[in-house]
């Protein structure tokens, strides 16, 4: 079941095409990585989903209904360019933003209080934003994004500006939100967090979607019959067509070799031909990283 579907979205600006026929489906309770180089059209797509701008063509379904202004309350958005009213107090500001999302004042106060406790920021309510450090401001902005308990949370580069401790805190919150049934769209250039968090990804390049699906499926799609072998002894005389991509000496004379074989060859065949020559201590298929897929796909 999909929480959000974009169908054939196109958007043109005066001088260039920002999106061309982009269709993605975002399953419920997924952490959906929206990837792409700078200027690929990610922000435009996110803004269209947020109804900040309108698509020229195509439509968006949220919970199987066409996206309408009433769905604003179902979406929480953390833009890449963070910003809060600098002169306003933290508490007032969060209440205001929550009310704009349709929460009543008393409900907003209650929720903000519980988020303050979760993110260890109690007692900041009366402080002005401009008096907070950047990391502290980010936490407040994160609260503003999720305070109205939206079903869809769109996070654009959520970890920038956080120290590792707080980045972990936010990461845990994202996972908790997913467990509670929320769907998260996650746009970032930090591939290690995509690797770690995302269940699904879509890759946008030059205004077009070039691939999407389950993270694992995409990795399989990009598998290249490459294996990592930890061994003692030399590869000399192996009776198989292979390509040695790398050799890395490990401790105590072990070597880690990266080997690519022909698509028709199975890993068992590789093992069989290796056994007479070397002592195998480890054998693993090397799946491409998202980073590698990203670079390969964009090029």
């Amino acid at each position: 079941m999909y929480l959000l579907e974009t169908q054939h979205i196109s958007k043109r600006y005066a001088n260039h095409e920002a999106l061309r026929d982009v269709s993605v489906t975002i399953p419920r309770q997924s952490i959906f990585g929206l990837l792409g180089p700078n200027g690929a059209g990610k922000t435009t797509l996110i803004r269209i989903i947020n109804q900040i701008i309108e698509a020229d063509e195509g439509q968006i379904l949220i919970k199987d209904e066409p996206l309408e202004p009433k769905h604003i309350a179902d979406i929480g958005y953390l833009p890449e360019e963070r910003g809060l009213y600098k002169k306003m107090k933290v508490g007032e500001q969060l209440i205001y933003l929550a009310q704009l999302k349709g929460l009543s004042r008393s409900e907003a106060v209650k929720r903000i209080k519980s988020w303050f406790e979760r993110l260890e920021v109690s007692g900041w309510s009366e402080k002005k934003i401009e008096d907070l450090s950047k990391g502290m401001q980010q936490k407040i902005q994160f609260i503003a994004t999720v305070v109205h308990d939206p079903d869809l949370i769109i996070l654009d580069e959520p970890f920038t500006g956080f120290d590792p401790v707080n980045a972990n805190l936010i990461k845990d919150e994202i996972l908790t939100l997913q467990e509670r049934g929320k769907t998260i769209i996650f746009s970032t250039h930090r591939m290690e967090s995509v690797e770690e968090l995302c269940t699904h990804i879509a890759l946008i390049n030059k205004s077009e979607k070039i691939l999407d699906g389950k993270k694992q499926d995409i990795k399989n799609q990009f598998r290249s019959n490459t294996y990592e072998i930890v061994h003692l002894g030399d590869f000399n005389g192996v009776d198989l067509e292979y390509q040695l991509l790398g050799e890395e000496p490990l401790e105590e004379n072990y070597t880690k070799s990266t080997v690519q074989i022909a698509e028709t060859t199975s890993p068992n065949e590789l093992l069989r031909s290796l056994i007479p020559h070397i002592e195998i201590h480890g054998f693993q298929e090397k799946l491409p990283t998202i980073n590698e897929i990203f670079i390969a796909a964009v090029q």
Partner: protein, 435 residues
């Protein structure tokens, strides 16, 4: 609508609680009251220390010419010692000044000198000059054997009273001077308020844009709602400040008035030191029966129209100022767009003098119909009275005008607030408008 309400409330409360707002609200009336009362206070305190002026009249022509001021503020003392002696005595004498009149040629009086430690006031000099002139004239009249009575009989006082005929056929006593003062004040207030609060809207938009909160906000509300909320919120701040000023000014004038009961009760007393006008001038007469003539101006209509044209004019320009703010990344970027936005306002202020000459002329008519100039120009015209249909038409056009500018501004605004880093020029704005 609920969301616009939230935005208005935020814009209103954050501004009203600012220190600058509170300071301006308190200072404004103090400044107004100061303008009214400081001259009065100065005038009344001046009269308490009397000045003695020694007159050394060698010509003996003005022996009885100088009379002491009735309130005792200036006393003239004739002395007969020589000028050099008088000058030598002067520092010890505690006198304010020494007036020396040499032997005079009546046709060409030369050499009258006033000695004093400090520069005498213009008024004092004027009094002395007038006294000398009158005395010399009397002497000349005598010489040509014309009596004073004959001369006075030659002078005729012409007084034109103006009566406005209303459409109902009623007669209303009109007073052009009062009307122009009221008109000028109203027109200038509107002009200043539009600029003051228009600039606040603009700065608010730039603040939201540069702090990047705008993207968060417009993921919750439509850009149009944000713009309208801001414009209305700032308008409420302006209205609040205006009403507080009126209230405080009245309060201060009343309190201060109780300290100067004589002066406050007699407007002519305030008029003299303020304007330093010569006697019998039309201005003074206007001031003297200000309260009675004020009846000629329809006060409730005037206040009602002021509020209408302030709000209408402000809404009209407020949206445009918001659009200018949205197209800029910082205050300095706004200047190229400020000129066309503020030009009509400046033109209307510049033409006020011409409109004053002919408050019901063609120029006045058209300028009070065009919504861009009507708020300022209409305030000038209303005190002079104008047909109801003209007022109604102008108001309708103004309402239409601000709906149009708001629509226009919204088109620029919704794109402008999301545009960062690019230098926006008229061409880009044109593209946004027709996109």
């Amino acid at each position: 609508m609920n969301k616009i309400g939230l935005i208005i409330r935020r814009e209103y409360w954050t501004r009203v609680r600012k220190k600058s707002f509170i300071i301006m609200t308190i200072l404004g009336p103090l400044i107004f009251a100061g303008i009214v009362f400081v001259p009065i206070w100065l005038a009344s305190s001046e009269s308490s220390d009397e000045k003695v002026i020694a007159v050394s009249d060698e010509s003996c022509l003005l022996q009885n010419g100088f009379r002491n001021e009735e309130d005792g503020s200036i006393q003239y003392e004739y002395i007969t010692i020589s000028l050099d002696q008088a000058k030598a005595d002067f520092p010890k004498s505690n006198r304010y000044g020494l007036l020396y009149i040499p032997e005079l040629d009546l046709d060409d009086p030369q050499g009258i000198t006033f000695f004093a430690e400090t520069n005498p006031s213009i008024q004092l000099l004027r009094n002395i000059r007038r006294t000398v002139r009158q005395n010399i004239r009397d002497l000349k009249l005598e010489r040509s054997s014309i009596s004073r009575e004959t001369l006075e009989a030659l002078e005729t006082n012409v007084d034109i009273s103006t009566i406005n005929l209303t459409q109902a056929g009623e007669e209303q006593q009109g007073n052009a001077e009062v009307a122009s003062v009221v008109g000028y004040v109203g027109a200038f207030l509107i002009y200043i308020f539009i600029f003051l609060y228009g600039a606040q809207v603009m700065r608010g938009v730039i603040e939201e844009k540069s702090s990047r909160i705008v993207e968060v906000i417009i993921s919750s509300v439509r850009p149009f709602q944000l713009m309208v909320g801001k414009v209305i919120g700032v308008a409420s701040v302006g209205l609040t400040q205006f009403l507080l000023w009126v209230g405080f000014t009245l309060l201060i004038v009343n309190i201060a008035g109780s300290f100067f009961p004589d002066i406050a009760a007699d407007p002519s007393a305030t008029a003299v030191p303020m304007a330093q006008v010569p006697e019998n001038s039309p201005e003074l007469e206007a001031m003297q029966d200000f309260s009675s003539i004020f009846g000629s101006v329809n006060v409730p209509l005037l206040i009602g129209c002021f509020i209408f044209y302030f709000l209408g004019g402000y809404l009209m320009y407020g949206a445009l100022f918001a659009a200018v703010g949205s197209a800029a990344d910082s205050d300095t970027d706004t200047q190229q767009f400020m000129l066309p936005v503020s030009a009509p306002l400046i033109i209307s202020i510049v033409t006020l003098a011409a409109i004053l000459n002919e408050p019901n002329g063609t120029l006045a008519f058209w300028m009070s119909m065009i919504p861009f100039t009507s708020p300022v120009v209409m305030m000038m015209r209303i005190p002079f009275g104008l047909p109801t249909w003209e007022l109604m038409l102008s108001m309708t056009l103004l309402i239409g005008g601000f709906i149009f500018t708001t629509w226009l501004a919204a088109k620029i605004y919704r794109i402008g607030i999301l545009t960062y880093g690019t230098k926006v020029n008229y061409k880009t704005i044109g593209k946004w408008l027709f996109q």
